[in-house]
Amino acid sequence: MTALLAEVETGGERLAESLSSSHPKPTTVVGPAGTGKSAALRHARRCIGGHTVLLEATDDNLAPVALLDGLVAGLVALGHRLPATDDADSDAWDDRVRRCEGVFRDLAGEELVVLLSGVERLERLASGGGAPGRHAGDLMSLLQRNVPRLGVSRTAGGSSTEGTVAIERHDLGHWLVDDEAWGALAPAASAVAGRGVAWRRLPALTLRLLVALADLGALPDVPPSTPLETGRMLAVEMATRRATRPTWAAWQLVAGLRGQLDDSALDVLLSDLPAGVRDEELLTRCLLFRHDGWRMHPSLREVVRNPPSAVGRLMLPPDFLREAGRRTFEHFHKEALRLRADGDPRAAAAARAAALDACAMAGDDALVERVDEELPDPYDHVGSRVASEPNRSRLAYEHACLVDEDDATALRGLADAEDGEGIDAAKVERLLRHVVALEPRDVGSHVRLVGVLLAAGRPHAAGEAFDDALRGLSGVLEEEELARRLCVPVVRVAVVAGDLPLASRAAVAARGALGVEEAQELNRLVEGLVETLEYGEFVTDDRLGTRWWMAPELLSDFDVEHRPLSRWLAARVDTVEDEAATIHYADILLPAVPDQRPERAWTTLALADLRRMSLDELPDPLPGTILEVGVYGDGAQRGSTIVRVVRGEPVRLPEPGLSLDRYVRKAA
């Protein structure tokens, strides 16, 4: 049946009647954009009743995932349980497809109607390759294999029926004789219509191309079997005629960009071509169609990708394409930034994708890097937009991972969301290991992996992860960059996590990069912590981890009698009891030896003596106070003993970005 929808409900009812009759036929709804095809499907669903699933494809890479989700939800709502599979390790997408297939097998012989709106979007994805393409193909194949009655809604005429579902051919004669639809090409369209009903039942895309051929006086005697073949025929005609060569050039340029183009983008893209091409009706009525902007059917892009040999020498020169690519990149780049600033993430993502296509046309890696730097990946955007809602954020990244299981950005985002929630450290570890396997130069993820392992109480694995990162990145990054981006953050997190051996190793690795002040400071911090734990604390925080015993901080070289400092004690007051202070000290005989730590001991002295010898006021409370005790001359009859109180600023441990105890809380 054909339902050109003047009235949505009438169309829906007719569709429902067709699908639910005793001899139902595969049925389709065709019509130009905006005429209510989806609404008709929804109405048809209401008419048919409860054994109907309605799916409506969106226009992005996540469409197959969303549709499969919708299909599963629909089946469950109809009371069909998805069977479990016995392969727990299988790919999540494949697993869900298999489980749906299982439901369909169980349903054999039962009534089930699946109405699918926007199949051309799936077709576009399927022809685009990558994980979204594979998923789209899988979904189409799943439906075709299992759903004998698939209601397919198409947008503007011009979609291929090949490889989708068997649909009835429709007599599009009324469309071909619609003068308003064809403008100056109306005579050519009428000529095509006049070839008979068999011609008028050809796919709409084929008809559009045949109209173009008729306009060029090249209408074949026998209609080509596929739109692609028709397109190749038209390409030869256009490229070999001087008058239409600019239109052939426009065809090539538009084919370089996927997705829709608005008027301004089309103007920019074609601005190097002769004036008038932009409005050439062969271009606007035959090669392109309007649906949320200008679109070109994938079959026509395929013609440009694999042109007929006759036009091989008539292709645009690479420099011309590169220049058009650069120009268009600037347009979309600016658009994406504007749309993002305007808070329209979906449009911004589409503009970003077009900018990337333009990069490919321009053949310029620098432009790609610019996109990466200035425009966040759409998946990042999805994540950040819902970052305050971790569950939604994780769901968004999970979807992105389903679309492309090797999408490092989505994996990173998912790891980030999971890590922030602190539920399953093993899962975060798996995700981050996948990320660094995909992008070994992603230093941040290496550091993050070390941090997660430390938080999970796995110091050995954290050490190995650090070693792997160090090995992998040495020679790739400059020494200073390696220290700054890898070693310093690892020292920081290892110190906080109490893994001093790892902190020490990372600090040593960073030591070579002398220009990194932060690395040196952290190195000293680690040495100070180790010293405190293994040796004791005799000097203020800021001197720990240095060769502080080489010289005191406050004591002078001579006393008032010009007797030289012969010995000094670096001391810390431990306890005060019964007017006596017990001090823990390191005993330094001068001159000190750089590599020889002073011996340590304890002694108790009267508080009154301590006050008398001190040149500074003793703090209250006294325990914990750092002292320098100087022995001048022999310290007794021919000498003196002087005490100085050393006050230093406490050194704070680095603040970890995430609590190291985040997995403990959840475990508890």
Binding site: R458, P459, E534, D587, A601, Y663, A667
Partner: protein
Amino acid sequence: VTRFGKLEPDRLQVLLLGPGFGESVVVRVPGDPPGWMVVDSLLSDRRGEAQCAPLDVLDHFGAEPDLVLLTHAHADHAGGMASIVERFRERSAFGTLDLDVSTVASARVREAAQATEARAALRAIAQLPSSRRWDLHGGTRPLGDGTVTVAHPSSTRLEELLKMSSIGPNRVSSAVVVEWRGRSVLLGADLERPEWASLLTADRLCVCDPVKVPHHGSAGAFDKRWAGDRVSDPGNAQRRMLLTPFDRHPKLPDVDDANGLAGLLREVDAVHLTSVSFQTSPTANGTLSIRELRRARDAAKTNRTPLPPVLGTPTASQVTTNVKDAWLLAELGANGVCIVRGGAAHVSLTR
């Protein structure tokens, strides 16, 4: 097995390690298969390729522990524990007091649990599934053909301790008793005196042999409930006391206080030390009387340039012991015969 000699399969072994930077005990209880337990951990180094001494020992014997216990949150018992948890997380049961530190009245206990290394150990244990954790307030677990029983703290006593604001972590340390064929071994952790009085099982403690002396032989940990009484039971003198020194202030064991080593040596003939914690001159090893030990320590003091008298009389210089030399191995037979041997730094101290 060259370092510790061959382990007799039908004897219970207690291997005491330290100090490197701490104390650890590895116990093997005969059985089919034998049971292995690690109590506390220590690191031989905190830089670079740090060595976790009990892990080295387990590798040495090709053993995997059934139980791993962290007696309390002090760095000299917790260093390296996270590595043990990581290695055996799929196999062993890990015991420690499962405390919510925010509910602990004592600031010292709270702070100790937050110190970096102790926190790392507690964090690692806390993430294990509950089936792999043993909350050490009472209870018994099998080990080889024997059992391990928590002697302290009981649930009741723990409730009281958590309300005390002035106690340190030693007061909530977990002392355990290993029992095998009628013999028992006390591992006294760092438990201090007031707590020994609270034990309901005190009558069983004074028959334990050998004993890992609590809190490195401090005067504050000495109690006849575990040390026994030579007068009422002359056989008490033969019990084996194993001890690791503490290389900080207060330097332990206490060799001067009447309740320190001197008190212990009133009740037993000998105390075995993995090493001494101060520089002696000449080097102290082998069998020494406590008087000789004091003399050696004092001689070491006089070798140093004396401090001006106003600065008091210092202790002997401290020394960090190499953990490879500092160990004791006690092998206990079912007949009660117990043989003790030790590393190069081993000292057998007598009256």
